[in-house]
């Protein structure tokens, strides 16, 4: 089934199985709904699949309140670029409630949000802001790359006791794959998966970029380079052991993601790996990520800012250059 169908199935089964689950968001109820929620209000009623006003702060706030009272709300922020409006509720309430109340309250909400990058919708409908939420203690951040992972991770998120931000990359919505139908199927958070084994270099990735990394690995294979593709699946919790295992073997790493590179998730991954594997690495860790620019609207420009097979392959080749030491500091340009 497609990614959208997998997400739909996860929501459907969660609603079916547990009265505490309800969905709220803009345009998620029939007949207007499209995407993963289409059909659900017809099946479960508009009390359990609830259209809201355009009020992102209150959508997340309301989810938090209901969660504190025992529900398992799944809030939708239609497109991730709008999540700033709900940032205060996520950061100052959801993330911190458990700690600030010494465990007396908590906010086990799931916030689903679509990443629109790649649709030519311009700079305010394209951002991938997961780095923000990684940085906030108390939140979990989930980014599936396949229909199977989407179903398994969303199911886990909904029933997880902590607030989860769940990213759905729009460019994957039509992607197909086998998905377990069992409602009990769930994938634990914090377990990366090797999506393709390899020996020469590890491509550490997540979300939409995994698809690109896999294509790059195919391309590299034709040149006799064996790339392992590690899909992190969740950024918090982060499976450091899996990264260290893989890169410990391949001794080279390239981090690939659709978020902007600068101060992005790849920075943290790189910082961890350089420390854990210092002396083992044969090359500096490279990052291939969105360029540091607001998303341009035209498709040709937009696709040029994202990780592409070409950019990934070039980065891998960089890690394979014989002499990696750059001992001449004067060579480094200003980035400021």
């Amino acid at each position: 089934m497609t990614m959208t169908e997998a997400l739909h199935l996860a929501l459907d089964q969660a609603l079916e199985r547990d009265e505490r689950v309800f969905l709220l968001g803009e345009d998620i109820a029939d007949p207007g709904a499209s995407g993963p929620t289409a059909g659900l209000s017809t099946r479960y009623g508009t009390q359990r699949v609830l259209d809201t006003p355009i009020s992102e702060a209150a959508i997340v706030g309301a989810a938090i309140g209901a969660a504190m009272a025992g529900f398992r709300p799944v809030a939708e922020i239609m497109i991730m670029d709008f999540i700033g409006i709900a940032a205060d509720q996520l950061v100052n309430n959801a993330a911190k409630l458990r700690f600030m109340t010494g465990g007396r309250t908590s906010a086990p909400i799931t916030v689903r949000t679509q990443v629109y990058g790649g649709l030519s919708t311009g700079a305010t409908h394209s951002q991938s802001l997961e780095a923000w939420f990684m940085h906030i203690p108390g939140l979990k951040v989930i980014t599936p790359a396949t229909p199977r992972d989407a179903k398994g991770l969303l199911t886990t998120a909904i029933f997880d006791d902590d607030p989860c931000i769940f990213l759905e990359p729009i460019r994957l919505r039509g992607q197909r794959g086998m998905v377990p139908l069992d409602p009990a199927f769930a994938i634990p958070l914090g377990e990366a998966e090797v999506k393709r084994p390899g020996t020469d270099v590890t491509l550490i990735s997540y979300g939409r970029a995994v698809v690109e990394a896999l294509k790059a690995a195919d391309r590299l294979a034709t040149d006799g380079i064996s790339a392992e593709v590690l899909d992190l699946r969740t950024l918090v919790p982060l499976d450091v052991a899996a990264m260290v295992r893989s890169v410990g073997r391949t001794r080279r790493a390239v981090v690939v993601h659709d978020a902007v590179g600068f101060a992005g998730p790849g920075a943290e991954i790189t910082a961890i790996v350089q420390r854990e594997l210092f002396g083992t690495l044969l090359a500096p860790i490279e990052r291939v990520a969105a360029r540091f620019v607001p998303n341009p609207a035209p498709a040709a420009l937009e696709s040029s800012i994202y990780p592409s097979v070409e950019r990934i392959v070039a980065a891998v080749r960089q890690t394979l250059r014989p002499d990696q030491a750059r001992s001449d500091p004067t060579k480094a340009g200003i980035r400021g």
Binding site: D27, D51, S55, S120, T121, G122, F262, P296, A300, L301
Partner: protein, 361 residues
Amino acid sequence: MAGTPNDSTDPPDQPGLTGLTGLTGSSDPDDRDDLASLAPATARRLYELMTLMKTADDRLSRGISSGELLTVYWPSRGQEAIAAAMGVCLRSDDQLVTTYRGLHDLIGKGVGLVEIYGEMLGRQVGASRGKGGTMHIASPGVGVMLSTGIVGAGPPVAVGLAMAAQRLGLDRVVVASFGDGATNTGSFHEAANMAALWDLPLVLLCQNNLYAEMTPTEHTMKIEHVADRAAGYGMPGTRVDGNDPVALVSAVTEAVERARAGRGPTLLECVTFRLRGHYFGDPMAYIPAEQLAAATEADPVLRFRARLVGSGACTAGDLDTIDAAAVASVEEALATVLAAPPTALTEIDHDVYADARNCPA
């Protein structure tokens, strides 16, 4: 009732068709047509603008349907009267903040079709050299300062523009144009409160088209009239038939003059309908058939045409000439745009900062 601004204490409209009953696009049959209250040149200019807007909108729809044009687009079709009224009531130094559904507003304020189409189609001749796209068109030379893709994000910026006008001692006015759904955002509230507090020269112009995306307005607010929100800020709230250009000119003029005179902002609710749904290609399955039929019946452009001819203000021939001119302008602009070079890849390297050397790697 139609033809003059209604205040917000009108009795509630029929459920399910909120506001639509007021959408006649002309005065009550019993009354004398108050078209006569407009100067003939104004009436003609309104029609010119409305037909240009309709033509520009229809052409995009046709082009996208046929595969000739590739863009994302949120049609304004059906909301022509509001934008045309702004067009005739605003001075060119007045400023506008609008949204993704801005085609008509932009035309009304005087943005050239080449700039608009060019931006939508990713051409170097676009308002932003094609980089911003459909949702983000600005043309400060004619006062269009911002179009936002984020619902509700415009009014706070309009507050700042109005503060600037006030500080500079200019008598220019700022209009923030947004939808009914936008009035549920916190940003709208914060901006409206500030505007009233500081007596800013601002018109908060709500184009209440009865839907926000696929959700009917009555599913997102308990109140019947958006204009009722004004009381919470201490500014006047006015509700007007958004399909009636004559009523709109009167209501917009009143709000603009109030702002210009330093007497502060107005919340102006203009009740209308999106005839093509939310985005281009929207199947509109969520719109009840009778509602769509009634709205189509109330098409402001066709109604205004009939009214101009019926009242003897213009002949059908006059209006045919105007229509033909609109088609010619639209085709010419589109041809120019399609012949123009696509946005250069190197555009990415500009305008992130004033000085590109500030960009990290």
